[in-house]
């Protein structure tokens, strides 16, 4: 190869190497169009609230998704389509993954109570303190109240609207999970990290009434988990006593 041609070829190769280097340094997950803008040639594209929520969810960042959804709902409270998603995020933060519950729904077919049906899908209390578990129960309560905040007219469209259908499906599931988590609070020793029925003595009449009320609301929803709540309620009420005694007997007998 003549010296001049060789030199030109070298120049080309060097320039390519430089350009690829520039390209590689730009590698990463950030898009040139992301805001704030990083390239004067490409005007940045602002994301909508729903797009930011979607990115947070796809990144598995439920805390950010929760904040963004709460802000979006506060800004547009009558956009009811966001409520079922916020409820799902609350349940996810509580440690109850809808995906697990739905994919394991077939395994609930032999169950007659929400405690046995959902136990495998609830957060493991052994890995947390009592206050942490209480916080998760509160989050599950928020999931329930978010769905319950929807107007009846919206839920009435569950036959045709996928958001309304999702809300109608989620409510009995969250109510059942809420009740099961609440009951777990009195059958588990958070100090030793093991099941302990002696903890039932810490359950108050108010707690028992609250759990029965949640199960009653769940039973009224129908469907797989509504029916489970109804059968759980029937087992509890078969004791014939007050709510506290009946529930303590039920939990003591079921060994939850």
């Amino acid at each position: 190869m003549p010296k001049s041609a060789q030199s030109k070829s070298m120049t080309c190769s060097t320039m390519m190497a430089m350009l690829v280097s520039v390209n590689l340094t730009g590698c990463g997950t950030k898009n040139l169009g992301s805001c704030p803008g990083i390239n004067p040639l490409v005007k940045c594209t602002e994301l909508t609230a729903d797009e930011k929520i979607r990115i947070a969810l796809d990144d598995g960042d439920l805390d950010t998704a929760r904040s963004l959804l709460e802000e979006a709902i506060a800004a547009e409270p009558e956009n009811y389509n966001r409520y079922p998603l916020l409820a799902a995020v609350y349940s996810g933060l509580a440690g109850f993954r809808l995906l697990n519950a739905i994919s394991g729904a077939s395994s609930t077919s032999g169950s007659t109570s929400v405690t046995s049906a959902l136990d495998a899908f609830l957060p493991d209390p052994a890995s947390m303190s009592r206050s942490d578990y209480n916080a998760r129960i509160d989050l599950m309560g928020l999931a329930v109240s978010t769905i319950q905040a929807l107007p009846a007219s919206f839920l009435a469209e569950s036959g045709t609207d996928k958001y309304a259908a999702s809300a109608a499906q989620q409510l009995p599931l969250y109510l059942s999970a809420h009740a099961a988590m609440y009951m777990k609070l009195f059958t588990f020793n958070f100090d030793s990290g093991t099941s302990d029925l002696s903890q039932l003595t810490s359950m108050s009449a108010t707690d028992a009434d609250a759990i029965i009320a949640i199960l009653t609301t769940a039973a009224a929803q129908g469907g797989t988990f509504g029916d489970l709540a109804a059968s759980t309620l029937a087992s509890i009420n078969s004791g014939g006593g007050n709510n506290l005694d009946n529930l303590a007997n039920f939990l003591g007998n079921s060994g939850s």
């Binding site: 030109k8 898009n31 040139l32 594209t45 729903d50 409820a87 995020v89 996810g92 996928k162 259908a165």
Partner: protein, 388 residues
């Protein structure tokens, strides 16, 4: 490989008169048309080497991709014959390749799976993978004959994108299917304007297109039952048929070591109407422009290009998708290297010309949505072309 230097092309110099004529042509073509909205602006046919260079192909394109990128490029091939042959390319996303690697015998992940002997564990892992990473795969084939005055060709492109979300918009786990199916034939003509560094080209195309998209809540028995009906699936992939035209212009100002190119392209001039499907009614007219500078020796070249697509906002294309920029480097006329920015993300690739067989690879990231960072796909492409 049509990535050569056009070094047989005659010398030209620009004059003010030339630029006035070009501006006039631009003004006529850039008049926006109000038409219905189609679903997707992504190219129906795109060459691997052009993807690697960020998709900036208005001023320089590869083989059959020329008639889709800018038919006015045809006269600048340096010889009468340009391309006769067939091509095949495969697209697959990185996450699917990575997952497939874990299934190979001997892989660490595979050993740990088989170690516990649990089918449930393996299926649970698969479900977790499906809900954490999308799947995208596709193919593109073509057969074409091109020369300096035009060409004829046929192509087929198929792509499926499957994305599962644990938290869909409705709150329930859902699977979203997006498909693209394009087939068709093209007939192109191009000519250089005498005594001017300007060429004009047109591609007439007959298209069969389907862009199915559906999202199914996996917990909704009604949604699942809907797709157990074969007619529902048939409706989903119903193909639309239509005729349309693409028109292009190119100004080529050549110097001994440096060339300038300016391109204008109108896709679906006047709008391409479709029939036979409720999903696709029309592809709107899209006007794009590109500029490039090429540094070259006798057999080596560096081509730096930038394109601006959808200048009249027919599809409200966001700037990061409308701007395409990249570099193609041609070494000894048989090796091509390319890098660029495609949909706002880095892209790169290479192609080698083995006389009758051309092999190319590319890696790029495509943004499925119009929001940066919302639904990116990391895609590998491999391309095989047989011809000359």
């Amino acid at each position: 490989m049509q990535i050569g230097l056009n070094n047989k092309f005659g010398q030209h110099s620009a004059t003010p008169a030339h630029l006035v004529v070009l501006a006039g042509v631009c003004l006529v073509w850039m008049a926006p048309l109000e038409t219905a909205r189609a679903k997707d602006l992504a190219p129906m046919y795109e060459e691997t080497f052009d993807i690697a260079s960020g998709g900036a192909s208005l001023t320089r394109a590869t083989r059959y991709g020329t008639v889709f990128s800018n038919p006015a490029l045809l006269p600048f091939s340096g010889s009468f014959h340009r391309w006769l042959g067939s091509e095949f390319s495969m697209h697959i996303n990185k996450e699917s390749v990575d997952y497939a690697k874990t299934l190979l015998p001997g892989s660490t992940s595979n050993q740990s799976d088989s170690g516990d002997g649990s089918t449930n564990s393996a299926s649970s892992k698969f479900v977790d993978h499906v809900f954490s990473a999308p799947f995208l795969a596709g193919t593109q084939t073509s057969f074409a004959y091109l020369n300096a005055y035009g060409g004829i060709g046929a192509f087929s492109k198929f792509e499926v994108d499957l994305e599962a979300q644990e938290y869909s918009e409705s709150g329930m786990p859902a699977v979203t299917l997006r498909g693209k199916s394009y087939q068709g034939g093209t007939l192109s003509g191009a000519a250089r304007i005498p005594f001017m560094p300007l060429s004009l080209g047109v591609t007439a195309k007959y298209l069969l297109a389907a862009e199915p998209m559906t999202s199914i809540d996996v917990a909704d028995p009604n949604a699942l039952a809907q797709y157990q009906d074969p007619s529902a699936l048939a409706d989903l992939v119903e193909q639309a048929a239509g005729y349309g035209f693409d028109v292009g212009a190119l100004v080529f100002l050549q110097g001994p070591r440096m060339d300038y190119r300016f391109a204008l392209k109108v896709d679906d001039a006047g709008g391409t109407s479709f029939s036979g499907s409720d999903q696709i009614k029309e592809f709107k007219q899209v006007t794009s422009a590109g500029a490039a500078v090429t540094f070259h020796t006798g057999k080596d070249a560096i081509h730096l290009a930038i394109d601006r697509r959808d200048m009249t906002n027919a599809y409200n294309t966001p700037p990061f998708k409308a701007t395409r920029a990249g570099v193609k480097v041609i070494l000894r006329n048989w090796v091509g290297l390319a890098a660029g920015y495609y949909d706002g993300y880095p892209s790169m690739g290479a192609e080698i010309d083995l006389i009758l067989l051309k092999v190319g690879v590319a890696s790029y990231r495509r943004e499925i949505s119009d929001a940066p960072g919302l639904t990116p796909r990391n895609i590998y492409v491999a391309n095989f072309a047989a011809g000359f």
